[in-house]
């Protein structure tokens, strides 16, 4: 393809005609992937809905064991990180490498705060013996509060949903560290910021899913 590669900028892969086509493709591909993610979590939401419809008292009772305050803090942390990732894209579009790096760094930091809080929540529950499935071994006080013998179903769903979501946060942290390094090498500018843009899309989805998880799991009245 001599007649094309001559006009190709370095960041455009050989099989694309131009930068626009590459950007559009990457963006469409990411949207398709996000639809797929929604369906993936959709399965868990379905399981949640079915069991909540079957055992409503159990869900109200079990949700009391979750810490609304820290769940709420985490929600704010993630919403904040969505804002900073949007600002990172804005910086890339305006050729501000420094701004891009700072915003990415804040996003990574917020994501880490989220994971640390999540860790302490898990840790506290495991300490009380509220563990998934066969590790279910609650202390007598907890057992008193959670009289329903099927309580472990709620926590099975809780651990699956938050666990899979947590994995997504970890993947997001990894992606943003990679972006941060590439930004440091000056890979991104107003002509080419596709990876920043599509990672941003991914991060918004991770955030959005948490915004559903928080009220569904923590705020059952």
């Amino acid at each position: 393809m001599a007649n094309h590669s001559a006009t190709h900028p370095a960041h455009v892969q050989h099989h694309f005609v131009d930068s626009d086509q590459q950007f559009e493709s990457a963006k469409l591909g990411m949207w398709v992937f996000l639809v797929n993610e929604i369906l993936f979590f959709g399965g868990l939401f379905c399981a949640y809905i079915v069991f909540r419809a079957w055992y409503p008292e159990l869900f109200t009772q079990a949700a009391l064991e979750l810490n609304k305050l820290w769940g709420g803090v985490n929600t704010i942390v993630l919403i904040g990180s969505s804002l900073t990732v949007a600002m990172a894209i804005r910086s890339a579009q305006k050729n501000q490498t420094k701004g891009l790096r700072i915003n990415l760094l804040i996003t990574i930091a917020l994501a880490c705060v989220f994971m640390v809080i999540k860790y302490f929540e898990y840790e506290h529950k495991l300490h009380l013996g509220i563990a998934p499935g066969s590790f279910w071994n609650p202390t007598p006080e907890i057992l008193h509060e959670l009289s329903d013998p099927r309580a472990n179903i709620f926590f099975g769903i809780y651990y699956m949903m938050t666990g899979v979501h947590g994995l997504h946060v970890l993947v997001g942290i990894g992606l943003m560290i990679w972006l941060y390094i590439r930004a440091g090498k000056g890979h991104f500018n107003s002509e080419y910021y596709t990876p920043v843009e599509i990672t941003g899309l991914y991060w918004h989805l991770v955030d959005l899913i948490w915004i559903f998880l928080f009220p569904l799991l923590y705020l059952i009245e």
Partner: protein, 577 residues
């Protein structure tokens, strides 16, 4: 709207070239060595690697099928134990579904053909394409680990609570394997959707897309929407096995019927992942070998999409006897009939395409005829099974076994063989022996019907599926079926021999041996690494057999403003290189 159209109507000058019959450099000679193959991002090589892997698993699972049929020669034990038999039929089903049928047409043939039919140099995300292949291999390795860990005997459907029993390390491994495999399918689907939307060559409007592309497009939509649900279901099932989280286990407050809903929400659309790309191949082959414009282009294109969408709403027809709610049962039965209609339309359109054609019964066309006959039976028996009262009697009997073999093997596999023989010269640059090709098609037809027609009868008589022993009255049916399966085995060996022989000393294939109007045939055989040596400009639909051949040869736009936009194009110059 009218203003916009006039604005886009740019007149282009197009030069036309006939592809060389003796290419000097092809994708096969471009880079050599194992490492180059293993790290390639070329969609054609990845397609071939998928083809090899699919053929390997097909041979393995097919061999298991012969072992199963041999065991069923006598009502009691013939040569293997019940537990072995149960593991073998599970493995046969799981491998055929997850390792053969799902990836066969899209990931093997589709990968090879799709960018070429779009006039693109590759799929949108070549590295993801390679990743999808390795994920597939990785998933397969998990299955083999499972076999080393006591294996699994749950049936390919993994119904709980049987599959969530305590001592089942094998089930954990295989479910994780299927979980991983799902991502390979998702990546292929994502890649294809993006490629079809964004990488079409100038002149390929939605109305000029080959029907194979429409079919792959519909398939990719299903892959992307359904596979993640399988992934989460299988993940939950693994968690059930690893630590009893209780969602599907009745002993812990969960529900096995919920598992079935989850499972079939993927696995019914998955049936369309397997068959819809086959429809695409049939449209391509039938037009080429009858030298005729397809009858009802839009009906065929849109019915693929209709099947894709309605296909999501019929999963409950696998569960008429399961204890799901009565309302659900009624609705699912009704929708099942609706999904049958677009399929019927396609068959009639293909038959109508033959009318006044110029029909050449070459091997691929012979497979299309076999397809049309077998798949029609598969479709009709599907109607029988969709009828509520009749399904109560036939559910989980050999009638169902025969039905899905007619659809999956008589449908998907025949389409795959048609496509394989059709594109073989393009993929390898070699011609196979035509006589042997026809013999194998006829043998498959005979063997297939001998194997599966008796299964309709014994199923309707009451023979349940997944039975190691059976009562004496079914012996004659089982023995006929077993003989048929051996004929099938021989036929597949002939195909293998014929194709391998063509690789070694086959005649050299010209660029367009079938005189097809398809864009992929306007490249050399085998194609260049970049498929075409310039971005082609398309001025006719893929089935315009009433137009002279010269106009289908590769067009190079002499002047056009920018890329990606699709212009009206006129030719004014035809030139042979």
């Amino acid at each position: 709207m009218a203003v916009a159209e006039t604005k886009n109507l740019t007149t282009l000058q197009v030069k036309r070239f006939k592809p060389s019959d003796n290419p000097t450099n092809t994708y096969l000679t471009d880079e050599k060595g194992l490492w180059a193959w293993m790290t390639t991002v070329d969609h054609k090589k990845i397609g071939l690697m998928y083809l090899g892997a699919v053929a390997f698993f097909f041979a393995l699972a097919g061999f298991l099928a012969l072992a199963l049929r041999t065991e069923l020669w006598t009502p009691a034990k013939t040569f293997i134990e019940a537990d072995t038999y149960n593991q073998l039929f599970t493995l046969h089903g799981a491998m055929m579904v997850f390792f053969v049928l799902v990836p066969s047409i899209p990931a093997a043939l589709g990968n090879f053909v799709l960018p070429m039919q779009l006039g693109a140099k590759d799929v949108a995300f070549p590295r993801l394409n390679l990743a999808s292949f390795y994920i597939y291999v990785f998933g397969a390795i998990f299955t083999f680990i499972s076999l080393a860990n006591n294996g699994f005997d749950t049936g390919w459907t993994f119904y709980t609570p049987y599959s969530s029993d305590a001592n089942s390390a094998g089930v954990i491994w295989v479910t994780l394997g299927v979980f991983i495999l799902g991502f390979s399918s998702i990546l292929t689907g994502t890649n294809f959707i993006t490629t079809i939307h964004k990488l079409r060559a100038p002149g390929i409007t939605w109305g000029r897309l080959p029907l194979n592309i429409w079919a792959l497009y519909a398939t990719s939509i299903i892959q992307v929407l359904a596979t993640p649900v399988l992934a989460i279901t299988i993940l939950l099932l693994s968690m059930e096995n690893i630590m009893d989280i209780g969602i599907f286990d009745p002993a812990l407050g969960g529900d096995p019927v919920l598992y079935q809903h989850f499972f079939w929400f993927y696995s019914h659309p998955a049936v369309y992942i397997m068959i819809v790309p086959g429809f695409g191949i049939i449209s391509e082959v039938i037009t080429t070998f009858s030298k005729k414009h397809i009858f009802g282009y839009w009906a065929i294109a849109l019915s693929s999409l209709a099947i894709a969408f309605i296909g999501f709403l019929v999963w409950g027809h696998h569960m008429f006897t399961s204890g799901q709610s009565s309302v659900a049962t009624t609705v699912f039965s009704f929708l099942t009939f609706l999904v049958g209609i677009p399929t019927g339309i396609k068959i009639l359109n293909w038959v109508a395409t033959l009318y006044k054609g110029s029909i050449d019964m070459k091997t691929p066309m012979l497979y299309v005829f076999v397809f049309l006959f077998l798949f029609t039976i598969g479709g009709f028996t599907g109607i029988t099974l969709g009828a509520l009262s009749v399904d109560i009697h036939l559910h989980d009997t050999y009638y169902v076994v025969a039905h899905f073999h007619y659809v999956m093997m008589g449908g998907t596999l025949m389409a795959l063989l048609a496509g394989l023989h059709y594109w073989w010269p393009k993929m390898t640059g070699k011609m196979y022996n035509e006589t042997l090709g026809r013999i194998s098609a006829v043998l498959i037809f005979i063997g297939f019907n001998t194997t599966f027609l008796p299964q309709f009868v014994m199923g309707a008589q009451g023979m349940p599926r997944r039975y190691y022993n059976y009562i004496d009255q079914f012996t004659i049916f089982h023995q006929t079926s077993t003989i048929g399966s051996y004929i099938l085995g021989v036929a597949f060996l002939i195909i293998l021999y014929n194709l391998m022989k063509s690789l070694i000393n086959g005649e050299k294939a010209p660029a367009n041996p079938w005189n097809s109007r398809g864009l992929e045939w306007q490249a050399t055989s085998p194609p260049d690494f970049h498929n075409f040596d310039h971005t082609p400009v398309i001025i006719h639909g893929p089935y315009d057999y009433h137009q002279p051949m010269e106009e289908f040869q590769l067009g190079l736009a002499v002047s056009h403003n920018g890329h990606g936009d699709h212009h009206e194009v006129t030719t004014d110059e035809t030139e042979k290189a």
